[in-house]
Every structure is written in C-alpha cells, then in structure tokens.
Symmetry: C2
Subunit: 352 residues, 2 copies
C-alpha cells in the first residue's frame, strides 16, 4: 500500500465516483451508483444547438441533430463498463493518477443507434484505417490543451457492437454520462466510450493523440511505445458480506451459513467459472454461476454458501475464462497502473 494518497489524487477521488460494492447486487446499476470518471469538466451542452459531425474519409459527411440520431434504427444493450485504472491504488510501486480501489465499474442499459450503420450511411472511403471519436470535454494533459478523443480500428467498428447512446436505464443521458450523446463500446475499458460526443472522423492514419499515444498503454518504462489497452480483463468481485465498521470498512459476519454473492465479467474470453476462497487464496471452491440473461456484454452473478466459523478469514473470488486464463493473485506492475485484475481480498471477522 502507498504511504499516503496526495492532495492531487484526493481531488480526483472526490469528484470521480466509484460504485459502492454492495451495489453489485443490482443486475443493472441504478443511475448515480455506476462508476464515473470525468477527465476534464462535465461540459455544458445545449441539446438544441448540438450537432454530431461525421467527417474525414467518407463519401457523404453528415451533420445530425439529436432528433436525427434518435430517428435512426435503435438498439439496446446491457453493458458492464470498467475503468482501465480500476485497482490502481493498491499497485506497488505507487502510480499517481485517479486512485481507484475496486469500485470503478457498473452495468447500464444503453440505448442508441449502431455506429456501424451510421458509418455505412456516410460511406467509408478506401484507405480508411481508424475512426476517431471526439468529445466536447476540453482540458490540459501532458502540457497539451486538448479535446478528449479516442479512436477505434475500423474493423472493430464494423465487426463490433458499438452504440451511439442517448439513453441509459430508460432515461435520457444525465449530464455526467455524456449528454446528449456518447459512444459505448461493449467489452472495452471505459476510456474508449467517449462521452459528450461532438465528432466522428474517419482517418487514413492511426490517431496519435494524447489519450491514445501516451495514456492507456501497457508499458514497463515511460519511454517505451507499449501496447494500447482495449478489452476489459477478466474479473470477479464480491459484495462485502455482513456489516461494516464505518472508518475501516472491516466486516463483521455472524457464524453460520453466509451466502456470498458477486459478479464476474470479461471483455475477452467469456467467464467459464468463479471460485471462492476463505483462506486468502490458498484453497478454492467452485461458486454457482448465474445465467447470461443480461447478454454477452454484461456481468454474470455468482453465489456461494459459505459456512462461516468464528475467527478471522480472508475472502477472495476469482473468475476463470473459457480460454483457461484466471485472475492472478498479484497484479503485474505497469507505468499507468492499468488493467489490474488481481483477486479482491476481503478480511472478515466472524462472531459466534
């Protein structure tokens, strides 16, 4: 653990919202409990004046009002979204950025129109390689004044399920989730799902902007090119059982059968099973995995009947995917503190 979180990190923790882990009990996270990371400020967007521009390497550039977007074919998907920096705060040596523990996750029902269909209408021209999504949020990072912007490979847009979303959980997007329109890329870490979307640009060269070339890359050294982050790593989380102590959040559980519950998800190979340990990861037992009724891009529930005996225990869960991969007990370090999917550890005191 770090000796201490700095004031700068606290400023980020105070304005960005984690999902309290007891909210894992909801299939779909209520608005206001979903995690939220705002790179710069939440922009003040006038929905009447707002237009989405589709330009770059296209046959027919488009300028669309919100009504135009809403009039297009609509799809809806439950999507588990996670920040690439989830788990960062406990990585050693300490990485300075938004100090997430494990709460940077949530599942929402997004409704909107497929990106692929809109690009088809605009007509992607030969030589296109990427699609750039530019938000209306503006700030300074790495000494560079910028609009928040991220790109996707063209094949990902064609083959994937990316949505231009104007509703979440049956309501118009609230300001903090990208009103009036945002990108949602199922299975990818949250930085990809650009909020407050203003422009979609088809590019003939890979995007080299700050959020693509500097941030969100797996690197061992600052001067290394590294690998761009994309799909969400396999993870499971547990609802901390029993009741908490206010300050320490340590848990007290009554002896007897204690139903442990949680969620598991992956943006890559699908979750095959979840295992639970009550001895800090020495021995594991198979949990019962819930169905996939929420669809391919949302988390699945799991549960386990734990026979809680008086004393101190450390509860863990780990997901195992169909490709045989499993969550590690310890996270490998990287420069940005990204993609840490090490198993959660919950110390509990069982009272007789």
């Amino acid at each position: 653990m770090p000796d201490g979180i700095s004031l700068e990190e606290l400023q980020l923790a105070a304005r960005n919202h984690g999902m309290p882990l007891e909210a894992l009990r909801f299939d779909v996270t209520p608005v206001g409990l979903h995690y939220l990371l705002t790179h710069y400020d939440i922009p003040d967007v006038d929905a009447e004046a707002w237009r989405l521009e589709v330009d770059g390497l296209v046959e027919r550039p488009l300028t669309l009002s919100l009504d135009d977007v809403r009039a297009r074919p609509a799809v809806e998907a439950a999507v588990t979204m996670e920040c690439a920096g989830n788990g960062r705060a406990t990585i050693e040596p300490h990485v300075v950025s938004q100090p997430w523990l494990l709460e940077a996750v949530g599942t929402a029902r997004w409704r909107g129109t497929p990106v692929a269909g809109m690009l088809e209408e605009a007509g992607v021209r030969e030589g296109a390689v990427e699609v750039l999504f530019t938000g209306l949020d503006r700030g300074v990072e790495g000494g560079e004044e910028q609009d928040y912007a991220r790109s996707l490979p063209l094949e990902e847009v064609h083959a994937g399920d990316a949505i231009l979303a104007y509703e979440v959980n049956g309501m118009p997007l609230p300001p903090q989730h990208g009103f009036p329109l945002r990108l949602v890329v199922p299975g990818w870490y949250g930085m990809t799902s650009v909020k407050w979307l203003g422009r979609i640009t088809v590019l003939d060269v890979p995007f080299g902007g700050y959020q693509q070339s500097h941030s969100y890359r797996l690197r061992q050294h600052e001067d290394e090119e590294g690998v761009s982050l994309s799909r969400i790593q396999l993870r499971s989380l547990m609802i901390p059982p029993g009741i908490p102590e206010f300050l320490t959040r340590s848990r007290v559980v009554q002896a007897g059968t204690c139903r442990l519950e949680g969620r598991a998800w992956s943006g890559g190979a699908e979750v095959a099973s979840v295992e639970v340990s009550s001895d800090g990861g020495v021995t594991w037992a198979l949990a019962e995995l819930g169905d996939d009724a929420l669809g391919r891009w949302a988390w699945r529930s799991w549960s386990f009947a734990w026979e809680a005996t008086p004393g101190e225990h450390q509860l863990c869960s780990r997901a195992i995917a169909f490709d045989g991969s499993a969550q590690p007990l310890d996270a490998p370090w990287n420069v940005g503190g990204y993609a840490n999917n090490a198993v959660q550890r919950i110390p509990v005191t069982v009272t007789g």
Copy 2:
C-alpha cells in the same frame, strides 16, 4: 495540507460521492451528481414488505406501508444539503474521517409528507422532548454495533419543514438516497436527514446514541461534551472557471472578461450578499446575487464579471449573511473537522 490520505480514508472517498463543482451550474443537482455519504452499506430494502413504525410517547402508534405514506398530504421543496464534514480534508491538524474537500453538497427537489402532520396523527404525549429517526442501515462505529439513528428536538419537528420524502427530482428515491423513504430536514447538515427510514420514536429523554453523543459535535478535545451540530453554516462556492489540467485540476483561463458563477447558501441567517476576490482574499468586490426562486432552503446563484489579466491569480468567494456574519478566511479547528466554511481558493493561470 496533510502529507497524505490513508488507505482507510481513500476507501471512504472512493465509495462516497462528491458533487463535481462544475455541477454548481444546475439549479437542481441531477441525480447522480448530488453528494452522497453512506455511513454503513446501502441496505437492500423490499418496498412491499417495508413498513414505517411510529412509536414511543404517542397516543396512537402507527404502522404505515409506502402506499399509506404516499396517500398522505404531499409537499415538495428544493433543499440544499451539505455534509457537516465538508471541507474536512484541508483542516490542520489533519482529522481522519471521510476526506471531503468542498464537494459534499447538492440541491434536490424532495417530495413527501410533512413529519409534523404524521406526529399530529400519532398524537404526541406529554413529556415528549425529542423525536428519534432510525434507519435500516447497520454497522459498527466506536466499537458499537448500531442502526444509524439521529434525533431532533420536538420543537424543531413542530416548527420546521422536515419531510418524509419518497421522491427526489420527480423520481422514486434511488437506493443510495434512502429508498423507499427518508427524512429531509431543510437547513440542517446532512447527517440529520436519516435515509432508509424504518422507525420514528417519540422520546421523553434526549437521545444518547453514538451519532448524537459522539459524532457530529463541535469539540476542542475528545473528552469534552461539546455542542451538537445542527444548521448549515453560511457558505459560497464558485464553479472553477476555464479548463482543468487532468491531474492537478489547476485552471487555465483566457484573458478578457470571464463570468464567474457560483452558489451561496445558509441554514441560519439568510445570505445577504456574495463577494469575490481575485487576489486571494485581500480585496473584495460585490457579486450579483440571483433571486430566491428555489425557495428558502435552497442555494442562490451569484455571478461576477471578472476582467482576467494574464498571470497567476487566486479566486475566492465569500457569502455574507443578514446577521452580519461572513465566511472566514481560515477555519477554526475542531475534533471532528466539522462545519469548516472557510472561503474556497481557486488558483488560476490566465493566458493572453
């Protein structure tokens, strides 16, 4: 400033939500941006099985379903709510608890039935002195297992505008704001407005529970009885102007006329004026105060046309009340780090 925030404090900062200060631009804070402090866990309440008990020193104890509560006379009020610990993180010597900077505030429209009317129906018996509100959230604090509970003096309930609220901003309460029913006490710090309400008990002696006798008291020493916190201190906040740097949140503003905007509120003597300083509180100028269309218990907007000249500046705002009191430049220390209403300071770099 503290050298560092501990892991325990970070755990609290990660699960409790601040209102990003750009959200001061909304008259009524959108759900999901209002501040949120959950002492223990958000309880899982079955609204069908839920009942409100009204008991203690009453003629006719009541047991009410949610439909019963909703069938009663309804009122609606816009209420600015603030945590008593807002501003705690920057108090010196450092106080360990939820480390709020300045974001622990929000304004919501609460709809529900007046507490006073319900007590009238139950019939308060002679000898009553306080009314205790007990939530369904349970945890450990000060070594003591407890339901979250707070009391109000009987005269405050009779004379005040306290509401038993089942809706916020036109929607049923979301889980995190106290579903299915919560207390809202306009003008008082947030700890008073008990969420997930289960029981209202009329008492013939003052309540001595942990949240009343230990927490939420103004004290200079741990062993002092101190004074129970009640009404929200006078405060103003400013929307940080310009654009932020991601990590430091330092602000860059273009030279020229810059419209500074914010909000001011008080649970005591009403806000009479707001002043703005661009030199860290050495000189002050009067801001324009917005109307009180939101009502007595909500914040008022203010604005100021600042002529921004290139260089480094420190922006401040301070509210002045009709009783002549003003926000202090520095906060007096107390054991819990409560009621710190010192003026906000925003360093900005103006570029030519």
